[in-house]
Amino acid sequence: MKRLVLAGLALVVVGIVVVAVRPPSSSPPPAAPAVDEDLTADELEGRRGALVDRVVFTQEADVGRVTGLIEAGKIQVFGQGIANPTVFRQLRDSLQADYDVAYGTTSELTLNPAGPTLETGGLNPFHVPAIREALNRLVDRDYVAQELYGGLAVPRFLPLSTAFPDYARLAGVARELELRYAHDPEAARETIFREMEALGAERVDGQWHYDGEPVRLIGLIRTEDARRQVGDYIANLLEDLGFVVERRYRTAEEASRIWIATDPAAGQWHFYTGSWIAIAIQRDQAQVFSFYYTPRGRAEPLWQAYEPSPEFDELTERLQRRDYATWEERQAMMARALELAMENSARVWLVDQLNVSARAANVEVAVDLAGGLSGSALWPYTLRYTDRVGGEMVFGTPGLLTEPWNPVAGSNWIFDQMILRATQDPVVLPDPFTGLFRPQRIDSAEVTVQESVPVVRTLDWLDVNRVDEIPVPEAAWIDWDSEAQAFVSVGEKHPEGITARTRVRVNYEEALFERRWHDGSRFSLADIVMPWILTFARADEASPLFDVAHLPTFEAFQRHFRGWHIVSRDPLVIDIYSDQIFPDAETIAASRAPQPQPWHTLALGILAERSGELAFSSNKADRLQVDWMSLVAGPSVPILARHLEAARADETLPYASVLGDLVGENEVAERYRALADWHAERDHFWVDSGPFQLASVHPVAGSLVLERFAAFPDPADKWLRFSQPMVPELDLEGPLVVESVSPAHRSALPDEGDAQQDDDETSAVRFDLEITFQGEPYPREAIEEVQYLLFDGRGNLVARDEARPREAGRWRIALTPQTLARLGTGANSLEIAVTSQRVALPTFASHVFATVPPGGLEVVP
């Protein structure tokens, strides 16, 4: 027996050792070297499409292991943004790992505006705007960002995200407000005490009492992240002021049924540690005031309790409607709304949280400033090793194939979308640092708007024209008749004729129809038209594809859609008419431009849904009690394969009455043959035209493989300039002590005029600003604005102007004697806000200097 046990144990040990030392079947990618060697132009020459050959996705949910896995060379990139300070420090200190920073999550304090007394009989101090406003000065946002968020956050005062273009455009105003509401606990205390007394409360033994009872505040504190510490910090501050604070620690679910679902007047909470997420750069945030501060935001009781001042209410409503004639008017409205938002302070904004996207040190990839890596549209085009071309890369991601993939109403999960993006090739792509759309499969566009519509163009790939009226041609398609299987023209639906507020003419690239789908089949016009038919057919009750879940979004679309018209078939030119407006012409063009999808894979889905075996949308699948269609795995694949076989035999072309004219000779047969070959080789139906194609899917093992699409037409370095955000780096220099102008001289100086002196020689004082990026001067043409704000010792804004450019990367602020005279004596502050066209993130610098009386600089013996 003993021998048997020993022999068994020996066998087990030998087995373990053999398996352990045996090399794995596919050798893992080498660990990242610490040395960064840049690729040469020679290595990139001739390379098309993706810069790596294979990307393998694997499930990895444990953020704590990410640094170790990257250092061990087991993964090269992690898809989820990391907000954990410990992991961030590990990444920062690692030689093999590196990271990119993204914004997008915001932490704030939601205050209960009901009152002043609640149904519980208690007093709610946050009913008073002045007390809410004072909280801005009570909270030390630097402490929150540095200590509570471990440096993974930046202070935020305003409803505008500090990383989005509107904040940059209003950087001067924002800076002024930030200084006005800077941490000043004494001022906050004074205001709160005054207002509390006005409410009838009294301080007894250091505690506020109302109607003989202590003023008790209930804090709903979220427990999942650093907001737990934030909630405790706020509670401590309020307790120091004499309030009794009851801390209720709650998860998202538990808290939401209190702060969202109950009437704030019921008094179940007074403050809540809230958070908001943006997954893409929002270039236009004009609506945020209406959403966050007025009953128009949401229908829930909390929003209905908001009582903005009449001026604020009107302003927010106009901003939401984009009711302004010029861009300048909009900016003025935004600036005023920011001021009023701070006075209202139904929410106290605390920090913009930073998420880091982890990667190996020798990997580079474009990361979206708001959405991080998972929200980046350019990651497939820019992903590369810095020291070589090609190779395999492993992505760790917390979720994979979370929901079924289909191109009509499939998975919308962020990590599924990240992978899908690599297989797709949109006609326009957003710049990850500014959110501005740039052309990918479009040569140019013309945006025509009505005279009264304020639209701004930034990039030169499109033109903006203004006309009095935009009539929609009678021949334009505006609807779809499912019974007749035909488009409805504008002339048929609106014999009296209609007009639109915008027309977008999209000029597709000349070689569009030379391009191929992943399965080798060639593009055709049917790939553009069929997705449009589907949009209408799914909203038509007469169609077997009718989907009630599609209706609400379709009806919202129909409100502004005014028709589309194919102007030219080859090269393809399409006009799209709409009443929908965005401030950026690039966004208007991007949201209108039709996107091609392979009609033959859509056809399989249509056939499967018509037969009642599968459904494109989750909702319809549940209603029919069938499977939600997946083109990549599961029970859907054999069903689709059966339909492919039948369609191939019959050469079925859905909507043949329209599409028959748009497909080429033998195209139907060739498409189905190519798809059948594709399916036979890869066992799925996911076909698109992006830089990567889906090679294999392993749902249960939790992995998926993308391989480079060899026929992708674009040069591999087309988007590489977007790999790194060009955030300006500032160095501001100037004197620390300046002699002020004497009262005698001051009266002799003119009162008004430029704050700056053009002639440096006669200026009273000069400050030099150096703007660089990675040690090189920041290109002059890329700088949008260099604003400065000059504050005197009492915090009053004395001057605001723009700096003057000098030689490369150098700017100067030369203050006139008049400006200096207005400062008086004391400690002053010069604040600089630099905005760039290459990144939405503004950069700030500050210089403190003292003005002393005339002769104050003379040395006293």
Partner: protein, 373 residues
């Protein structure tokens, strides 16, 4: 002095019928009791998983928040007026409420859940999908079963047979150095498998990177069957080792104590006194009478595979039933939770019933009606 009546010799046939009647009656009672137990257990699960219906309220708030955020984040809806946006949100909410049947009282739904579950009609998940994309609860569960059976089957069988054999061995060497070592190491089993797993991963996946840190197979999975099997074994080593380490010592200790108690029974002493060989004593006098508890333990261990181990699977990123249940609880996906529980409940009931029968077969002392024939 009265004479006692002579015992009446009943025909053997009547005795057999009586036994059969008793057996059927016992079986019926037992099955009924087990059925009621399963019924109550499953209904309690339904009520608890839904917090007595309070989850409905949570879901409504969640649905509304998700719809509102989706509309807020979509630039296509930015130019809608507040009323239009609210209407859009309301319509989205109504669709989801209808889909999840939240417009029906929880009590009605709970009875539906129960009767479907008892019929083993697992239905459709409300939020989740199988990894391959199916919404059928059956597919969701069955898809994860092989991974669970592989990991927990390997580890548990290894622990079970090793511990029984080693315990038997130690019971013959009571007080030896090895025996004392096992007793001393038994408290190490207080730490769960995932605790050892973390250290093993640290050691063998990061410090000395010999083995994978997690997952079931290499990424991407090897194409040849042999390479796939090899990869599977490499990925199995650490989690199996973690489970083995966490269970083995306490298991040996328990079985060793159990065998020691039985080894001191009078009939075993008598056998020893008769000079029978120790292997014969072990097999016939110790193992055979203790077969019932051993089989009970074995069968319960087997069905215990069903529940997996939530944290261990998370630590090793193992796609098993434990992590599935964890996800289902997170999503509050009642059908999936009920599906997991009802299958386990039925398995347990069937096992208990089988054990009742097996006991009677294995141990002649076990008889219906207190041993009367």
């Amino acid at each position: 002095m009265s004479q006692s009546p002579a015992p009446i010799q009943r025909p053997a046939r009547r005795g057999w019928l009586r036994d059969l009647r008793r057996l059927l009656l016992y079986t019926a009672k037992r099955l009924l009791a087990l059925f009621v137990t399963v019924l109550v257990g499953v209904y309690l699960t339904i009520v608890i998983a839904n917090m007595g219906g309070q989850v409905d309220e949570l879901r409504r708030v969640q649905i509304r928040s998700e719809a509102a955020e989706a509309v807020r984040a979509d630039p296509a809806f930015q130019d809608l007026s507040s009323e239009e946006r609210h209407e859009l949100i309301e319509r989205q909410v109504a669709l989801e409420v209808e889909r999840l049947r939240l417009d029906e009282p929880f009590m009605v739904r709970s009875v539906d859940y129960l009767q479907q579950a008892m019929r083993l009609d697992l239905g459709r998940a409300e939020q989740m999908h199988s990894d391959r994309g199916s919404r059928a609860v059956y597919d969701i569960i069955v898809e994860r079963l092989p991974a669970t059976v592989l990991l927990f089957g390997t580890a548990n069988l290894l622990v079970f047979f090793t511990s029984v054999l080693v315990a038997l061995f130690l019971s013959r060497r009571y007080g030896s150095a090895l025996d004392r070592s096992v007793v001393a190491l038994a408290p190490t089993s207080a730490a769960p498998g995932w605790f050892y797993g973390i250290f093993l991963i640290l050691l063998f996946a990061f410090v000395v990177p010999w083995l994978p840190a997690g997952g079931m197979v290499a990424v991407p999975p090897p194409e040849s069957n042999w390479a796939y099997a090899g990869s599977l074994v490499r990925h199995l080593l650490l989690p199996v080792a973690a489970m083995f380490l966490s269970q083995i010592f306490i298991s040996i200790y328990s079985w060793r104590t159990f065998f020691l108690i039985h080894a001191s029974e009078d009939y075993v002493e008598m056998a020893r006194a008769k000079g029978l060989p120790s292997r014969l004593i072990e097999r016939r006098y110790i193992l055979r009478p203790t077969l019932s508890p051993i089989i009970t333990s074995f069968l319960l261990m087997l069905i215990g595979l069903w529940s997996g181990a939530i944290i261990l699977e998370q630590v090793f990123n193992w796609p098993g039933l434990g992590s599935l249940l964890f996800q289902a609880i997170g999503h509050r996906d009642t059908p999936v939770i009920i599906g997991s529980v009802v299958i386990f409940a039925y398995l347990l009931a069937v096992t208990v019933f089988l054990l009742d029968i097996l006991y009677a077969l294995l141990d002649p002392r076990v008889r219906i009606e207190g041993g009367q024939r």
